[in-house]
Symmetry: C2
Subunit: 341 residues, 2 copies
Amino acid sequence: MAVRLQDVAERAGVSVRTVSNVVNDFPHVRPAVRERVQQAIADLGYRPNMTARFLRGGRTGMIALAVPDLSVPYFAELAGYMMRAAQGHDLTLLIEETDGDREREVLFLTGSRSSTIDGLILSPLTAEAEDLTGPSRSVPVVLLGERTYDEPLDHIAIDNVRAAREATAHLLHLGRRRVAAVGARPEHDSRMADLRLDGYHQALAGAGVARDDSLVVATPWFTRQDGYDAVVHLVRSDARPDALFCFNDLLALGAIRALADHGLRCPEDVAVVGIDGIEDGAFSVPTLTTVAPDMAGIASRAVDLLVARIGGRDVGVPVDDVADFALVVRGSTGGPGRSGS
Amino acid sequence: MAVRLQDVAERAGVSVRTVSNVVNDFPHVRPAVRERVQQAIADLGYRPNMTARFLRGGRTGMIALAVPDLSVPYFAELAGYMMRAAQGHDLTLLIEETDGDREREVLFLTGSRSSTIDGLILSPLTAEAEDLTGPSRSVPVVLLGERTYDEPLDHIAIDNVRAAREATAHLLHLGRRRVAAVGARPEHDSRMADLRLDGYHQALAGAGVARDDSLVVATPWFTRQDGYDAVVHLVRSDARPDALFCFNDLLALGAIRALADHGLRCPEDVAVVGIDGIEDGAFSVPTLTTVAPDMAGIASRAVDLLVARIGGRDVGVPVDDVADFALVVRGSTGGPGRSGS
DNA sequence: CTGAAAGCGCTTACAG
DNA sequence: CTGAAAGCGCTTACAG
């Protein structure tokens, strides 16, 4: 059924070696021969069998990106950037949704699919160090986000403490004094939440504002619904915040929705800041002030690093890379894009 | 480096055939032998080489989903459903972002990656019939969405005319008489837009409301920004709509943002309906009334169908499957989740 | 119930 | 510059 190299060779009257040379653009093939081979390829509609090539070469040309949930806009947008970065290296990107499930986070590392890819970019929630190192690991890994390990592993993230500090400081500069922190102690990523809480506390301290633990709201996850529930909690508990620093944009979007339901104006009564820089926030009502990580930079850095590791190039000891971010001021803190209603 | 079947065989003192039998759970292996083999597998940390298995078996165990843009929430959410559907068949789902680029839409069908997958689920914007049929096509394809072809091809979509009719009728039932249609004649999918425009016109006719072409707004794409711009256009043109039927949720979300910027209350001054049922609409201000296709059903149907084709099972002639949808009434047309401000 | 051997389609030393 | 041949790691008729 399938047209093989051999078929092309026979038709062109040369050896498979020569056909292979033509297919792979090797030099030292006489122009006349090259042309005859190319004609045969066209006639037969030959396309190389990647599987065979991979088996022979030991590489698959595929890398995987494993994120918790694609319907989280941050991960969906990041996946797009990763895809483009991978294309730049002629790699196919496989995307895996893990739901934070430990087994699925390391599926490509230790599971039956491990021979399918050359490397993995993982945004882990529950993977343990032993899953990522040890003999069962078969391919290089680059880690994304805040879950950190004692073992030396390549890792890329923004400086969460600083990001949180700047987000909170922005609210304090506006004159807000009762700034709530929304997103503490989530079930899925307490490390990241702890760092952002640190930054929040540092900003308060820097502005000479006393802590008030009734303004710190824990959420189970980082969803819109969790942000909504957090505001309901704040309203009921009579904590009276005049601003919300939400640990991500989805929490912030859910919080804005809840403020509207409770007759609280945003930003007049309660200003809101998030983190992630997802596109939704540019069109919400009001538009959302956010700390936007440099997703393109994170993606290209992650892929570059992984490619270097795959190639066995000496990249030095495992890298702990700090990605850029920018504070984007919009309607939810009085910038452009106010609700207008 | 890698542990092979052969290594396991040597350690267990059996032939590779026997090891293969154990690995693949074949019967007729004596319990004692089976145990010895399993011990050897554990000792050596053997994992089967998928690439070799694929080369031998002619299948890769992977299918691809090709969508225009993952940062479009509808596609991101759909991808999640597809992933779960694929898992149910023990298939790995490869996701490809095409940007509507013809070459990338058929990359897995005709390009160098074609031998990587067993089948493709494609949401096409620009692919031509000749790309999808003809001798260059190497694997089965299931098409999603409204781009249709004369050739017989498997295809799944909602009934767009009916969906648009019901969305528009909902606005008319509310007593609105100046219902605008937002999303006509986009560059990327005029077929789908035409169907939705048809449904819009049918609903108007059914309610005895005269058409007014100044209320039909063309948009280049289906983005939030396009929805925003459409409202700006309507405001400037003095068309004075009292409702908007937006051809998708992103347009609707952008439109709501623009209404706010122009001091128009939603739903009081202008009610809004979208199509897609993306999660964003459940938390926007106001929440968004939408026509929600049964994404889970579409995903499982698409994967089931593709699996049947891959298996060569007789599924009959190419299927033209009509997926379910539901009208979800929310704040933007006076349902629960009003802005509250 | 198990062993020896062919072959999936490629790439690449090894000769010439 | 090109040909004949081995081998990547697996599965599976074919014997026994």
